[in-house]
């Protein structure tokens, strides 16, 4: 097995790509819609051009990037790319607890590097207009509702990871494709509710670089993306162990 530092680099690079392309796609969508009049107060720009198709496009960018990273780095680090996934695997004793902190830090650093790289390649409009694709609850969505939505969506993600990858009876080869598509589907469905993070690191990266470069300050919402995904993922792993044991 690769050393912990090598595996952390793989996690960091993988999460960097996830945020660069995935969150980047959300930022580009906001930049494309900039200046148009939102059709409804629920619309902040994403959805202005193609309704749910905007979210589908963003979801597909995440789906393809996640599949690509899982197939390329999955055997090096496990390609969790998501603190909620790492923590859920640790809680169910599948991943060593003492390596969990390293993985989570690597994912957060990778995510921040992804956002920084996106800002560097696109320019300040990506920060001020696109917010680097940072997630926040949409108009009319309360704090508790947002936590619930993130938890439910991440529950589905982790349930699928358990079923198509962790379970030794799973058919080999499909994990990356199915898990990527699951994230894509969850993003299409919950994008206009919470921004569909499902991933603490994916929200942390844009938040941090927005703060550094003068973008929107959304830290007040950060607990949503810590509690929701982690609770959802841990519950899914425990649930799967309970129902799939026999």
């Amino acid at each position: 097995m690769a050393s912990l530092s090598t595996r952390c680099i793989a996690e960091g690079v993988g999460t960097l790509l996830l945020v660069y392309f995935g969150a980047g796609a959300a930022a580009v969508t906001l930049m494309l819609a900039a200046g148009s009049n939102p059709a409804t107060p629920f619309n902040i720009g994403i959805g202005q051009l193609g309704g749910l198709g905007d979210w589908f496009a963003i979801g597909m960018v995440f789906a393809i990037t996640i599949a690509a990273v899982i197939y390329s780095l999955g055997r090096v680090s496990g390609a969790h790319l998501n603190p909620a996934v790492t923590i859920a695997l640790a809680v169910t004793k599948r991943f060593p607890a003492n390596e969990t902190v390293g993985y989570v830090i690597a994912q957060c650093i990778g995510a921040a590097c992804g956002s920084l790289l996106f800002a560097l390649t696109v320019g300040m409009n990506a920060v001020t207009v696109g917010g680097l694709g940072a997630t926040a609850p949409f108009p009319g969505i309360g704090y508790g509702q947002a936590i619930l939505a993130e938890a439910i969506a991440t529950f589905v993600l982790m349930l699928v990871i358990m079923g198509v990858a962790v379970d030794k009876r799973a058919p080999p080869g499909f994990a990356g494709l199915i898990i990527g598509l699951t994230v894509g589907g969850m993003i299409t469905a919950t994008g206009n509710i919470t921004g569909a993070s499902l991933n603490t690191a994916r929200t942390f990266g844009p938040y941090l670089i927005d703060s550094v470069l003068g973008g929107p300050n959304l830290w007040i919402y950060f607990p949503i993306y810590i509690i929701g995904p982690i609770v959802g993922a841990v519950l899914a792993a425990l649930f799967y162990d309970r129902i799939a044991a026999e």
Binding site: M1, R7, R75, G78, A79, F95, I161, A165, V166
Partner: protein, 71 residues
């Protein structure tokens, strides 16, 4: 069983000691190539790890060359 390669060379008294994993020909000690193959366990969402023991594989010279791209 006799060694196929020896038999083709007209030598019909050399016993086969192994069977090629790929083509199934019997080979004598001189014509058997043993390769020890790494065995990996795990993979997404766990890091793959190389198991401490390797898996032996018997090859005839032709299959060995094809398997290892001539190496």
């Amino acid at each position: 069983m006799m060694c196929y390669i020896c038999a083709k060379e007209g030598q019909f008294d050399s016993d086969a000691v192994a069977v090629c994993t790929i083509c199934g020909m019997g080979t004598c000690m001189n014509h058997t190539i043993r390769k020890d193959i790494d065995v990996w366990e795990g993979g997404y969402p766990f890091p793959a790890k190389k198991l401490p023991k390797k898996m032996p594989r018997m090859f005839c010279p032709d299959c060995s060359a094809a398997f290892g791209k001539g190496k």
